[in-house]
Subunit: 478 residues, 2 copies
């Protein structure tokens, strides 16, 4: 990178926040062991600084990879083309919690759980609840339209974002939306930026909806003989006009991985093929309890031999801690590839069957769990004892077939993890060429020089390919 550029970056964000050394950590997110250290890291403090960095990068056609909590599971935060890593970690202030209008305004570097806890102290509630909430940040949540278990009742991040400030490669800042529940003044740029994975602009501020915090939550755990029985129970819960705030599915191997890693057991369902974790919430405790009883009845009618009711806070926390640990537990078994399949809810048993068939056909171990109420299943394909070559040889056709069959079920290649770096080659399975060309057209409107998070979302143009780079074995970065 040309020295003049470094000088200018130092002028914009300060020397102490223009890092050239000890920046290995900025080369990875939580996607397998991918590793692409940037040439320089900048840590701006203000929106104006972000805009100046983008303008400078655009003038010099240097890639910029926006980074927040670097918890992406699709390689969204990897600087795959080198250049500048732009970390929003210092833009970490909650600017306002407005209890009268029920909105908050926050910088992008605020950790999601910090925001949740701050608003909850005031009796308020922010719905999205990604599993990585302890380390992911609002800017990344918005850029990737993060989901989580509560999406079933409360929607995903896009449903809570009502306004943004965004820095563009032109060096301009724009504001979209506001503290407005209704707003149809022009095209909905807010929703276009949500989920655009840092390829259209860098989010420098977000206005997020809040609601009054539900007073009570009640949780239930139910084991089933198979996923079909579990899915039938879920359908019947909705038919009983109950909308749970979470409805999680864990197959046996996922349960066992979590139990082993934590040295703790789930209170019911040992050896069950499919366990459901269901939660209801609301402001009327009796109404919540009535709903929970109805759900328990439905589960037992569908063959659950027993159910566990976690009606107090400690029991709920213990069950959720185990559930939340599944991702890491499964990934600690072996090298892996995680996919994030999603189908219409009622087709979930077919998806689970598809996953098993594809894994068996290609000789790969697979463990599945996820959000059964949303039809969103995380599939971990495990390398286990396979050597490099064999793993690669089996993996690619398996993933391709899994996605083709998921799409044939009315599904998509990613429900909440994003396309990022690792799924973009499969985007042509999801959309025809002219559809992807429209997306390229949108990209050019916002980022004509193509500097913003290059190598993400859109598949490579012909003749261009970014080589895979992995962390050297035996090294760790934190």
């Amino acid at each position: 990178m040309i020295p003049e550029l470094i000088v200018r970056l130092r002028e914009i964000v300060g020397s102490e926040h223009t890092l050239l050394e000890d920046i290995d950590a900025y080369g990875h997110d939580e996607t397998e062991d991918f590793w692409y250290p940037p040439e320089v890291v900048v840590r701006p403090r203000t929106a104006q600084e972000v805009a100046c960095v983008l303008r400078l990068a655009a003038d010099h056609r240097v890639p910029v990879t926006p980074q927040a909590g670097r918890t992406s599971l699709s390689g969204g935060a990897l600087p795959v083309c080198g250049g500048i890593a732009l970390s929003v970690e210092r833009m970490n202030r909650i600017l306002e919690i407005d209890g009268r209008n029920l909105f908050c305004v926050t910088e992008p570097g605020v950790v999601t759980q910090v925001l949740q806890e701050e608003v909850e102290k005031r009796g308020l509630f922010y719905g999205p609840d990604p599993a990585s909430r302890g380390s992911c940040m609002i800017g990344g949540n918005v850029a990737h339209n993060a989901g989580g278990p509560r999406a079933l009742k409360y929607g995903v991040t896009k449903d809570w974002v009502y306004g943004l400030q965004v820095a563009l490669p032109s060096g301009e800042l724009i504001r979209t939306g506001g503290k407005l529940l209704k707003n149809v003044a022009g095209y909905n740029l807010t929703q276009l930026f949500v989920g655009s994975e840092g390829t259209l602009g860098v989010i420098t501020e977000a206005t997020l909806k809040l609601i009054p915090k539900p007073r009570f939550a009640k949780t239930l755990l139910a084991p089933f003989r198979d996923v079909i029985a579990a899915a039938t129970a879920v359908t019947r819960i909705f038919e009983a006009r109950i909308i749970p705030c979470a409805c999680e599915y864990m197959e046996r191997a996922a349960v066992e991985a979590a139990e082993q890693r934590n040295g703790q057991k789930f209170p019911v369902g040992h050896g069950a093929a499919a366990t459901l974790l269901i939660e209801v919430d609301g402001n009327d405790e009796e109404a919540c309890e009535k709903d929970l009883e109805k759900i328990a009845g439905i589960c037992m009618e569908e063959g659950a031999p027993d159910v566990f009711l976690a009606t107090d806070a400690d029991k709920r926390a213990a069950v959720w801690a185990l559930r939340r640990s599944i991702g890491e537990a499964v990934k600690s078994i072996s090298a892996y590839r995680e996919e994030d399949t999603v189908v219409p809810r009622a087709r979930l048993p077919e998806l689970v069957q598809t996953i098993r068939e594809v894994a068996a056909k290609h000789g790969i171990a697979a463990i599945s769990y996820g959000h059964i109420g949303d039809g969103n299943i995380h599939v971990n394909l495990l390398r286990m004892g396979l050597d490099d070559e064999e793993w690669k040889r089996r993996l690619e056709p398996a993933v391709q077939e899994l996605f083709e069959r998921t799409i044939a079920l009315g599904g998509q290649i990613t429900g909440e993890h994003g396309v990022g770096f690792v799924q973009r080659r499969y985007l042509p399975l999801a959309y025809p060429k002219h559809h992807i060309e429209l997306m390229r057209g949108l990209k050019r409107v916002f980022d004509p020089q193509g500097i913003l998070n290059p190598g993400k979302v859109l598949p490579d143009e012909e003749g261009v390919a970014i080589p895979e780079r992995h962390r050297p074995r035996g090294t760790t970065t934190t």
Copy 2:
């Protein structure tokens, strides 16, 4: 229009659906008395026909104005540049009501109330509830991101649209989204089309979320001494953790206009400066009644001398019929201009005060009512005895000032009616030039020839202006 084009249109949609005569009705929507008859009306039956018409029009650079129920209040459905009016009225089938996945799939020409009633027969619920639901259509609702009173709890149309099929000027059809509660595969084109007012593509099919229909609804009417007391009550209702499904505000003149037109009186609040209509719903009747009692208590603490509880279906229907008639009642008083201001909820009393000040300053009568829970107030500026010249002279600076002051309150120029034809000249009050240029860039990606609903959303480019055309006095079209 060249005869060859008419021949081709007849080949595409059939002679009996290519109309050249008796098409005055297609020249207006519900925006004042604006009147722009198209040169030809086509009424395609299929998405493929729509796509072929668009391709033909693009090749010949002939304007196409998509039309659904023609209930727009912003001139969105007016063929202001002549050319082809493309009515989706024959695409009026509900294709699927999927109770297991809780989605429905519908063509764009289905009347909103018809869809509501069909899903309700199956115990399901579609949230958006625009006042014109008896004649507006889903295609127009999606294109304009229609709102309505239930938005407070259930959101606006965008929150229910999960998938679209859209015809483009390239002659291609694209599908976005699907029956998927989570989906982050690529840019969110679904949400970009929602609210784009037919300027980016023509919606040929929509996949809409459903929920189980809430079993019970309870309604309350409360009169207040002023809008500040009414707004304080609304804030306190949310602080009590109650989210009503509607919270409507009517000022005295609006109440009186509705009462006079209907020959019926609201059961309480005669002479009150501000009346609130508040509704709660849910599946637990006791919980609903508890909430309603709490709301009644709050209203009386804020000075409501009495409240009326409409707890049975007949009383609720009567109250709502009066509320729904306000729009027409107010507009029947005089020629008018309707504006659709929106601010953060807690600033609503300031907005109401602003409306009064602006109207008084410019010597114009004004009547306000709307969705106080959303901060969305409809302002009818009434011509009354003013002559043409004086009305025009006073109106424009009044509207300009109203919008400037609304934006200064953190608000926007339209909450749910759209920018359309009549508000687009004010868009530069809402956004700086480079922001509007981004919107123009998006428009060019989808519609490079500029044939789709020209003269809408985006302000005129310099040197181009579309003259105002009004229906000749004494004529009516239906």
